[in-house]
């Protein structure tokens, strides 16, 4: 097991380096000079050139690149150009909010998507199936921006049931959960569509198996047949999908955090891009990449636990 973990992390390194390289190059391709943005447009040219030198921006790009990689692999993500605080510190301040949003989003996608998939599979080709799958398509088509604002209007403004903005009082767990309901639903809806379709397909596969027919013939309650026997085996591909959804969900946090005025890494990233805060942009993207890699690793492990037939090799 531990060998497997180690090997997976090791093989994820090229992916991580690839992501870091891409973001390094992309940020430098956007027009706009960080030194100019820090010092303001009224600053004298010599001062701007000096700051570029201090930030290492006057070095050839490959020098900056290798310096950056060296720093990252020593755990140093650099200093934010805007705030002059450590990039890691800036990220740590808001990481819990993004993490809880992503997890809540996955949770929502599972509790909505899985039952819909099960019901759809069980009532295949009926009206229920059709409605459920249409709902799934709608979920993935409606932009988070739109569903977010609409749900805020309904549940926050008109009904007053839920808060509209913010992440909640950090010390108050109930408050944080209440602040999570709308954003996680907005972000989980799209993911739930994929989960629903995957569950449905997987369930259809399983429901045709002999042991299911046997269970029904033995007189077992339908609910037990579906959930205790069929779903358990159908869940394996679904777990995989959850892992794949994570990347999409983390990307979705960017828009969600803006729509719900929530603190988080998504908002941090957007602000950093506007300010051409290269170290911050690189740091946040590196974190996102690492999170996706870790989640997929956990998914692989869960996979091997859920299905004894699967051997970690």
């Amino acid at each position: 097991m531990s060998r497997y973990i180690f090997r997976t992390i090791f093989s994820a390194l090229p992916t991580l380096i690839g992501v870091l390289t891409c973001v390094f190059l992309l940020t430098r391709l956007i027009p706009g000079d960080p030194a100019l943005l820090i010092l303001g447009e009224n600053a004298p040219q010599e001062q701007i050139l000096q700051l570029r030198k201090d930030l290492g921006l006057d070095q050839p790009i490959y020098v900056q690149y290798f310096h950056y990689l060296y720093q990252v692999f020593h755990g140093n993500l650099g200093i934010s150009l805007r705030t002059e605080r450590s990039v890691i510190k800036e990220i740590m301040d808001v990481l819990p909010y993004t993490t809880e949003l992503a997890i809540a989003g996955i949770f929502v996608s599972v509790i909505i998507g899985v039952p819909i998939g099960v019901i759809s599979a069980n009532r295949r080709n009926t009206m229920t199936d059709f409605v459920a799958m249409t709902f799934a398509i709608l979920g993935v088509s409606m932009p988070v921006f739109w569903t977010g604002i609409l749900s805020t209007l309904l549940f926050s403004l008109y009904l007053g049931w839920l808060p509209a903005i913010g992440g909640g009082d950090p010390a108050n767990l109930i408050d944080r959960i209440l602040h999570l309901i709308l954003p996680s639903t907005a972000i989980g809806m799209a993911a739930s569509a994929i989960t629903a379709r995957m569950t449905r397909a997987s369930m259809l596969d399983v429901l045709h198996q002999d042991y299911i027919q046997t269970a029904r013939a033995k007189g077992l309650e339908e609910l037990k047949v579906l959930y205790k026997h069929a779903l358990r085996n159908a869940l394996i591909p679904v777990i995989t999908v959850v892992g794949l959804n994570m990347g999409r969900l983390l990307g979705g946090t960017i828009v969600t955090e803006i729509v719900f005025a929530r603190p988080g890494m998504g908002k941090l990233l957007v602000d950093a891009i506007y300010a051409r805060d290269y170290p911050q942009v690189q740091g946040v993207v590196a974190f996102f990449a690492a999170m996706v890699i870790i989640v997929n690793l956990l998914v692989d492990l869960a996979y091997s636990i859920a299905d004894p037939r699967v051997e970690l090799s």
Partner: protein
Amino acid sequence: MSRVLMRTLRDLFLISFVLVSFSSVGSTENILKARLLGNISTIDGAKINQVNDHVIAENVYSHLVRYKPGSVDIEPDLAVSWTISRDGKVYTFNLRKGVKWHKEFGGFTAKDVKYSIERTLDPKTKSPNAGDFSLVDKVEVIDDYTVRISLKEPYAPFLTVTLPYRAGWILNQAAVEKFGSEYGLNPIGTGPFIFDRYIPGTEVVLSANKDYYAGPPKLDRIVFKPISEETVAEIALERGDIDIMYFRSPEVYQRLKVKKGIVVEEKTGPGIYSLVFNIDKKPFSDPRVRKAIHHAINKDQIVKYILGGIATKGTNVLPPNFLSYTEAVTQYDYSLEKAKGLLREAGFGEGFKTTLYYSQLSPWPLVVPVIQEDLKKVNIDVELKGLEHASLMSFIRARKHDFGVQPMLRPPDPDMIFYLMFHSKGTFNATGYRSEDENIEKARVEMSLDKRKAIYVQLQKKVVEDSPTIPLFYLKVLVARKPYVKGHPVDLLNGFWGYSTYIEK
């Protein structure tokens, strides 16, 4: 799921619902919840160059002289009186006694002024405001309550722009040194509010400075919440999650103006929003072409229908509330005939093709398609290219465009417009205009108010006549608030004056 579990979850939900609904009741403190347009970066006075930081800093720090809240006139702040030498180069300030720094950092004295200015000038500080003090020769502490600032050459706007704006915040040396790299989130000032708490991405809390020299503010606390999206802020205001907000969107303005229970206030700001020509590039090097385009644009239509009340028509390169503003400049009425006539004269009767570069920051994306349509009518084929705001500003600054847009929001002194936009050395010169350098330089060193005004009147006439830019509109500063928020002056310069504001429920 088991019955017990279901019941427990239901009870939990109900309890929390009740708790949250009652959480806002019961406080006897006067607390204002205000919108910030985004997250803060640093409240180190020497390093601020964005709006959100400015809002906080303006309540935490003081200046030697400051803008009267809601106005562009100046009044004493930490300096109670001052004299200016005859040659305009030496300013001697008599400082207020008994002013205390926040959190027991002692009493304010002249050495704090010297420290603040020298620190801003120090290249190690990397201050965006260093350029504002580039004319400072030396700062001398005469005694604890007298400080003398000597300039290398006279600079008329020193008192009306440099000191009351960002460069002029006064900082405390012991505090800066104590907090070091963390000072940006632990600012210490002499202002009416103390920087109390910062939860990243969630709120900035300021609490009343009970020892403020003019008496404690009416509010006990201000809670600033960062909300970048305008519609979201609108919902938050309606819900009461915030009590007051500054905003920009014309759609939000339309809706809030007619909403019961919300008060909208507006005031023309010191900003001028223009189209700019690169006068070194054909065909814009010919003034007839520029004037033709000026006549071809229907500004009234833009202001009325596109901007829907959030702006007023631009007729002069100076906004109306600036010193020396005059209406006696060339008027470019909307006239397709005049436009076509001038184009024919210049040899472009058949029209030409060009590209208009614009910023994606509101309201430009709404305005430029109308410009495109207007110019089509005189056979000018305009391709629109939108750039992200900071990218556009770099692009324009480097004069890579032929035809572009330029928003300009600076403290209200004519030198800010004329020097920065129309002097050959101006950092915001997007046109290449350079024929009035001498007069612009004369005006900035002229200490007699009347003589200065006269030079600027001539400059306005000349620049509007030459038309290197087309002033399109002046944006209003927009504030929406609940009726129980009182005493808040609409701040024209990205600030937020919390001192006189209070809640009366």
